[in-house]
């Protein structure tokens, strides 16, 4: 579990995160959603320690991250995996070397053990026969999967995904979403996903935190989001008329007003 308490972060005189508190649960996909510039990336970077918050507290299972010494943070970071928006794979290394890098750095495994582990996680993310390819030789979706493989190779307790679907087609996005969800359950990790992808929200949003202008505006699950009365959330999630119609349809369906195709046809008239 990760908990943030009254987090504040400013750049110059602009407050980007304004007194935000939340709990991210273990074994669940916790989504931070919000429009561009709403502060979700800054919030995630504060949680992983890439930015220092101005005030507030970040609690991991291991204790207060805010008050940890650098050595303790380094140890905790070995339990953290992160998938970056652009995958952040090392250009000069092959897929295999990228995934093996954390093993080389932090374990005393033999070469065979490392190879086995790398092949195991690459197979887990459905990536075979790409071991010797360089990041420039693989597609965006494959890069994301390599990024996930590298993030989980040390079996982390915490997984952070920053915009995992950016630049991917809807079908590949779905594959990545499901993979993140499956891995979260399988490894019983605390996963935090930063996204503004509607499909992700509905697919894997077991717990959703909606950020608006640096503040937590709404909290709930993908089941609650349909019935939310929050105007800012509705404007964000159901931005187009098409999505608004789809939402209305879904609400009717969930209320049992559409029980078969005939009823739906009547409603559509």
């Amino acid at each position: 579990m990760i908990e943030i308490k009254n987090l504040v972060k400013s750049f110059s005189d602009k407050t980007v995160i304004d007194d935000t508190s939340a709990v991210f649960e273990t074994g669940k996909c916790n989504l931070i959603i919000g429009a561009s510039g709403s502060g979700k990336t800054v919030l995630m970077k504060c949680i992983v320690g890439l930015f220092e918050p101005d005030s507030g507290e970040i609690m991991y299972d291991e204790g207060s991250f805010t008050n940890m010494a650098e050595d303790e943070r380094k140890l905790l970071r070995q339990k953290i995996g992160m998938l970056f928006q652009g995958s952040a794979l090392f250009d000069s290394m092959t897929v295999e070397e990228n995934v093996m890098f954390p093993l080389n750095m932090f374990t005393n495994m033999t070469t065979k053990e490392k190879h086995d582990r790398v092949n195991e996680v690459l197979a887990r993310v459905n990536l075979k026969d790409a071991n010797n390819k360089y990041p420039s030789e693989i597609s965006g979706g494959m890069k994301k999967r390599v990024g996930i493989a590298r993030a989980i190779v040390l079996t982390p307790k915490y997984l952070f995904c920053d915009e995992p679907n950016s630049g991917l087609d809807p079908k590949t996005s779905l594959v990545i979403d499901r993979l993140i969800h499956e891995i979260t359950t399988e490894y019983n990790m605390t996963t935090i996903v930063n996204t503004h992808d509607m499909n992700s929200v509905m697919e894997i949003g077991e717990k959703i935190l909606f950020m608006h202008q640096g503040k937590k505006e709404w909290e709930g699950s993908n089941k609650d989001i349909i019935f939310s009365k929050n105007e800012n959330l509705n404007n964000f999630i159901f931005a187009s008329e098409f999505l608004q119609d789809a939402k209305d349809m879904r609400m009717l369906e969930m209320k049992g007003k559409i029980d078969d195709n005939r009823n739906m046809d009547e409603l559509l008239k």
């Binding site: 890439l50 970071r77 070995q78 953290i80 995996g81 992160m82 952040a88 250009d91 890098f101 080389n104």
Partner: protein
């Protein structure tokens, strides 16, 4: 950001990169990789420049020494001292500031912009120690070697040019090389090369590591790194000459 802020952040970077490696083997591997990148890959350009520097110095010195009262061996003495004291360490290092400095700044800048540095940090790695320290150590190891190579090839180039253009025979050149040789000049040249090696590696590393923005900023950082390195090399050149000679 003003000059003092840059200087303070540069000093902090140097201090923070000195820490116990997370894994000695990987750091050693990175050091060897950088020795290859900075040293071996620069041998070609250093050799070409050094040979021609020596050759041009010989021809131009002979051109200026028109009086028959001065022995021809003086040409070799001038070529030797010029090469050892100034041309091999300073000029070669100015060239290396361009070749090596821009590569270091753009490599780190690209890593910063593509979040590779953040990825390393998230893993719990001291990114300054892992990315910058091996570059500085490698530069301190290989750049003095390149300067020695440049001095050797420069003098050899001068000898060949003297022979090919009929200015002075190799035997006379060799005699001149041994005339009034001051071993301290070599020590001075080495002191210069170590100082420049530190500048060439640390200054571009600073500009690359702290890049903010996109590819345009990487280019700007790279250019700025080369300019600042060259200015600092020339400043250090004067300061070392004033202090050590």
């Amino acid at each position: 950001m003003n000059l003092f802020t840059h200087f303070g952040r540069y000093l902090l970077m140097i201090r923070q990169m000195i820490s116990k490696p997370e894994n000695w083997k990987l750091y050693w591997h990175e050091l060897m990789h950088q020795c290859n990148e900075i040293g071996v890959r620069s041998i070609g350009i250093v050799a070409i420049i050094a040979i021609f520097l020596g050759a041009v110095t010989t021809v131009q010195t002979a051109y200026q020494l028109v009086t028959p009262l001065i022995p021809r061996t003086i040409i070799a003495v001038i070529v030797r001292d010029n090469i050892i004291l100034e041309l091999a360490p300073t000029l070669i290092c100015v060239v290396l500031a361009g070749v090596v400095g821009s590569r270091i700044a753009s490599e780190l800048g690209n890593m910063r912009v593509s979040e590779q540095i953040d990825a390393l940090k998230i893993m719990g790695i001291n990114t300054k120690a892992f990315l910058i320290m091996p570059k500085i150590l490698a530069a301190l190891i290989v750049i003095p070697c390149l300067v020695v190579l440049a001095a050797t090839l420069g003098i050899w180039g001068g000898k060949i040019a003297g022979e090919l253009s009929g200015i002075l025979p190799p035997q006379t050149f060799n005699e001149g090389l041994l005339d009034d040789f001051i071993p301290y000049n070599v020590v001075f040249a080495m002191a210069k090369s170590y100082t420049y090696a530190f500048i060439i590696s640390s200054v571009p590393a600073y500009f690359g590591y702290y890049v903010e923005g996109g590819s345009l900023e990487i280019g700007r950082a790279s250019t700025k790194a080369v300019i600042v390195s060259c200015i600092l090399i020339l400043f250090a050149d004067y300061a070392l000459a004033a202090i050590l000679l």
